[in-house]
């Protein structure tokens, strides 16, 4: 499994034609305490770059954009019930949703871990 990153601080874990998507630890450190997460509906067809989820901290609301196109296969209900997981385990338990990848060529524009580390440095 490879993990890829967007410049907008989402991570994608690629497993065959399924991508699991969340926000990065750097993003949560900037957001502060997360108190609400809004997830997309299962079955929704996403176009790359459209707003798909919302993360709200005490301070502000931030949109999460679809890093690639595809259909929502599954969402993390545990995260909706416990939004603070974003702060405690952004790269793990706080995954947002799983996507059936529509076009694998869209992955080409994403960063690997080293490139993302440079991006936030």
């Amino acid at each position: 499994m490879t993990t890829l990153y967007t410049a907008d601080h989402e991570w994608l874990r690629i497993d065959g034609d399924v991508a699991t998507i969340g926000v990065t630890d750097y993003a949560q450190s900037q957001l502060g305490d997360v108190v609400f997460v809004e997830l997309p509906k299962v079955g929704r067809a996403l176009k790359k770059a459209e707003a798909v989820a919302v993360v709200e901290s005490v301070k502000a609301a931030s949109d999460v954009y679809a890093p690639i196109s595809g259909e929502v296969l599954e969402v993390n209900d545990e995260l909706a019930a416990e939004p603070a997981l974003v702060n405690s385990d952004a790269a793990g338990k706080a995954w947002f949703f799983k996507l059936k990848i529509a076009d694998k060529s869209e992955l080409d524009g994403l960063m690997d871990e080293a490139a993302y580390a440079k991006h936030i440095a």
């Binding site: 907008d8 900037q30 957001l31 502060g32 809004e38 609301a61 931030s62």
Partner: protein, 386 residues
């Protein structure tokens, strides 16, 4: 996602309070606020800072606010008090020495120009006004009161708020006498060898104090307070969530020049003496409009709103009577997450017939209509020492 920290803005030159270096040294995340470079949060973050203030004590730098002395040229305090009543609908003449009260500068249409604290220091009045309004407030006072009073902005003083259940025991180490002060008691006191003005008041709903200290000694005094393990520095983020839970207005958001005290549900702040049938009715800007609203009511009114769901409803959200109506009925003026309630809270304006507890209205949030329940304020009971 787009992080707020990545939104670039052309930075205007920002002013610094006397505690600026301390904020930076303590890891404050600095943001522009009312022309000042201020800490929005420290290491623990807004949520923990908020809860710490309600559980122990929080130290807030409010030095950006304006501190103004009004000294009567005649030497008689009542002359200054009477003159200030030309500009505010509150009873200043009856304000006893050593007491302060909440007041409002109003305009000719009855709208609110600023909200402020007025203290009677015996031989003069002492005012604390909002940072964003202080230049206009000083000009207003100069224009209308300079025949009667010396209007003296105190630019060489810092203002520190110490708030929370441990505030009294922390401050009492510097002056045991503060323990006998009650809510809204105020006056000059010597603390740590410094000439301070101490009031038992604040902006969190908690018991606490606001301490005006000479600017050059402010950092040392703040450090002495922070040396107590019960005290943490608190940023503007938690200051906002604390005051929202306490149901307290933020000027420029919940109150503005197009909003009257009656619309703002601030009738309690206007004493009977200044109303119709009182000892000195009217005589302040917008008196006709405001006093007739006491009898006739207003088309709209400020209310507290509790979300039925978990999503915060923030400032600017448009309100509707039901889930489908295209016609807006009001707007949220402050809103966010209340850490002590562990739930979203907001305040906003609704048509007066709907401004009653338990009425359900709907806010548009990202295209969805979220249910809100009109709720009494404060959302979190205050703990003032009366």
């Amino acid at each position: 996602m787009m992080l707020a920290s990545e939104v670039s803005a052309s930075p205007p030159p920002l002013k610094q309070t006397p505690l600026h270096a301390l904020h930076v040294a303590r890891g404050g995340k600095m943001v522009p606020f009312a022309g000042y470079d201020m800490p929005v949060q420290f290491g623990p973050g807004v949520l923990k800072e908020h809860l710490h203030t309600r559980a122990a004590a929080g130290l807030f730098d409010v030095s950006h606010m304006g501190q103004i002395r009004l000294r009567p040229k005649s030497g008689r305090l009542e002359d200054a008090a009477r003159a200030l009543e030309w500009l505010v609908p509150q009873d200043i003449l009856a304000l006893a020495a050593g007491r302060q009260r909440y007041a409002l500068f109003t305009n000719e249409t009855g709208g609110i120009l600023d909200d402020l604290m007025v203290a009677n220091f015996g031989d003069h009045l002492f005012l604390v006004v909002n940072a964003a309004c202080k230049a206009e407030d000083e000009a207003l006072l100069q224009e209308h009161l300079s025949d009667v009073c010396v209007v003296e902005p105190l630019r060489d003083r810092a203002l520190i708020a110490l708030q929370g259940p441990k505030a009294e025991s922390v401050l009492a180490k510097f002056d045991a006498g503060i323990a006998s002060m009650n809510f809204m008691d105020t006056g000059p006191r010597r603390l740590a060898g410094l000439d301070c003005f101490v009031s038992r008041s604040g902006y969190t709903g908690e018991d606490g104090f606001e301490i005006s200290v000479p600017a050059d000694a402010a950092e040392g005094f703040a450090q002495a307070l922070l040396a107590d393990e019960n005290v943490l520095p608190i940023g503007l983020g938690a200051r906002d969530s604390l005051r929202l839970e306490a149901g307290l207005c933020l000027y420029g958001h919940d109150l503005d020049p197009a909003t009257t005290p009656v619309e703002g549900a601030l009738e309690w702040s206007i004493q009977k003496s200044r109303r119709k049938g009182g000892a000195r009715p009217g005589g302040f800007p917008g008196a006709n409009a405001i006093l007739s609203q006491f009898e006739q009511g207003t088309p709209r009114r400020r209310v507290g709103l509790k979300a039925e769901g978990r999503a915060p409803v923030r400032e600017g959200a448009v309100l509707f009577a039901d889930e489908t109506s295209p016609q807006p009925i009001g707007k949220v003026t402050s809103g966010g997450f209340g850490p002590s309630l562990n739930a979203p809270v907001a305040m906003g304006y609704l048509p007066s017939p709907l401004a009653t507890p338990d009425t359900i209205v709907f806010a548009d949030v990202r295209g969805q209509r979220l249910a809100l329940r009109v709720a009494p304020m404060p959302f979190v009971p205050n703990t003032y020492k009366r």
